[in-house]
Symmetry: C2
Subunit: 361 residues, 2 copies
Amino acid sequence: MDRLRIELGPRSYPILIGPGLLGQAPLLAEAIAARDVLVVSNTTVAPLYLAKLERGLEGKRVAAAILPDGEQFKTLETLARVFDALVERRMNRDACVVALGGGVVGDMAGFAAACYQRGVDYVQVPTTLLAQVDSSVGGKTGVNHRLGKNLIGAFHQPRAVISDTDTLRTLDPRELRAGLAEVIKYGLIADEPFLAWLEANLDALLALDPSVLAHAIRRSCEVKAEIVAEDEREHGRRALLNLGHTFGHAIETATGYGEWLHGEAVGAGMFMAADLSRRLGWLAAADVERVRTLLARAGLPLEAPRIGAARALELMGMDKKVLAGRIRLVLLRGIGAGVVEGDYPAEALQATLAAHFEARA
Amino acid sequence: MDRLRIELGPRSYPILIGPGLLGQAPLLAEAIAARDVLVVSNTTVAPLYLAKLERGLEGKRVAAAILPDGEQFKTLETLARVFDALVERRMNRDACVVALGGGVVGDMAGFAAACYQRGVDYVQVPTTLLAQVDSSVGGKTGVNHRLGKNLIGAFHQPRAVISDTDTLRTLDPRELRAGLAEVIKYGLIADEPFLAWLEANLDALLALDPSVLAHAIRRSCEVKAEIVAEDEREHGRRALLNLGHTFGHAIETATGYGEWLHGEAVGAGMFMAADLSRRLGWLAAADVERVRTLLARAGLPLEAPRIGAARALELMGMDKKVLAGRIRLVLLRGIGAGVVEGDYPAEALQATLAAHFEARA
């Protein structure tokens, strides 16, 4: 088992990575110290892993809130069900909320924990690659508004993250590929050698080779943790983690939540960010091709919906990363060298949006 | 104008107290620095003060969310309307939420600000005595659950508090008296000389004498600020501020939100806490009478609803101040000497509950 410690002063916590962790009761009991536990999961994951987790929590008072599965349910209305479960079980401030599922479950469970009695503990048990490499580091929690993603939420760090890589065996291959988009992102923004390692090991990753998987998860968490530790509240460097996200949000919002997976939208968005970086003269055409090839090999869709450049820009304008009306974007000054930039010619952005969002002649 | 600074390190903020502050545009513009402002108010307060506030914010982009008036609307559902207003106006992270109203408006506006985009600024313009002496210090925000008060919320400090004492002239006298309960509370838990001053000046307070009012608000905020500064996240001494609240929550929950005002329930609860303190031998019978007399002179109801001791205990058990199943209460070791205690004979609590909640023969 790999153990990684996220250093955040009094809010530091461990990430445990490896196969078979859900079967290790002592490990679970140590990570989830509370007597009262509410497990938040969804209708897909609960039948697969809830009983196993509950066996590991024997002797505690455990309840479960099983939510409908899907990004379209990441709402205040669904969140209210988690609060109902906490209140109806009379859980107090010493309770612990455990997120068993992917990023949506983690975001909602974490947000519920942040708000219940103004803050109780929570532990993440991510069961998707995306959640294992992304949601488990950074402390972001929240829900969507019908007009925009993640507009309502809180920063709330987990007490521990337990990433059982065996859970990826039941993951929809499409979800696995969406998770790989975020793994590739870490290479693109901060670690060229890791990107080269991914190019060399992509087939093994897709085949769920356990040791290759563990390394990819660990390195992804490390890169994210390094960036988050420098900038916990997202005022500066942390914005690098949003590579592809501003473009991706436009795709997700235009198509409605659920049609594109988040990681898929980010993948297509990273391709656009690379394209714009090339138009600015910051990235060689060969590097854009390198990005495109790796994303395509990972099985990720690169064709954005043809919603028009104007609509895409409008949707990007609602994005959280707007500062005083100006669209700051994460771009690449090279592979492994992400930068946050608001100072670029509007024409270059227009050209990228036209190339990707306009209907072709 | 009085100016009090709440010292909380990087989250320190000023409280401005005095008559006519809402008419002072430069002061408002300084306290509310953001360009984009959402004023959250309710159907009672907005017609009285919204236009005045908006005149003071000329040149900014100002929108308003007007909520229904009453504790029964302090819910996630009402909160969603504030989020809708923020999103529909495309307010970004630099926006400021301004709470114009009483404690309910302040709690919801503050919670919305805490969660919108994971945290934007907010400024309080409290228009009730209760909000001016209580809600404006401490950073507690949140909404009720149908099974308990303030169960969902966040700690989020305002950037500034503007307490215009002229707004108390339009306040329902019953609301004024409810606010006085909290003012009396500060004397009881931490400041006997202040309690004596209140005894001497109660009639002037009830007559809204401006300078007496300003002193009462300022001293209340100071006492609360001293306690909060020591214990921002409510792990120890801050619990003193809950004098009367655990008993009071039982009253409020049993009767449904809205029948008893919060301050009224706290007033009756403080009388019960004094009664229990006497049964424990900590408070003289004459001191209990001193408490009763002052609360009665302030026009506060002291007769709890006759819901029975068992039901009252059950409702107290759901209260947030329960630690691992044990009911910790704020009691008095003397006037001006509040203590937080979980170690007392159950029989004494039972006797107090019987005296106050059981139907009389």
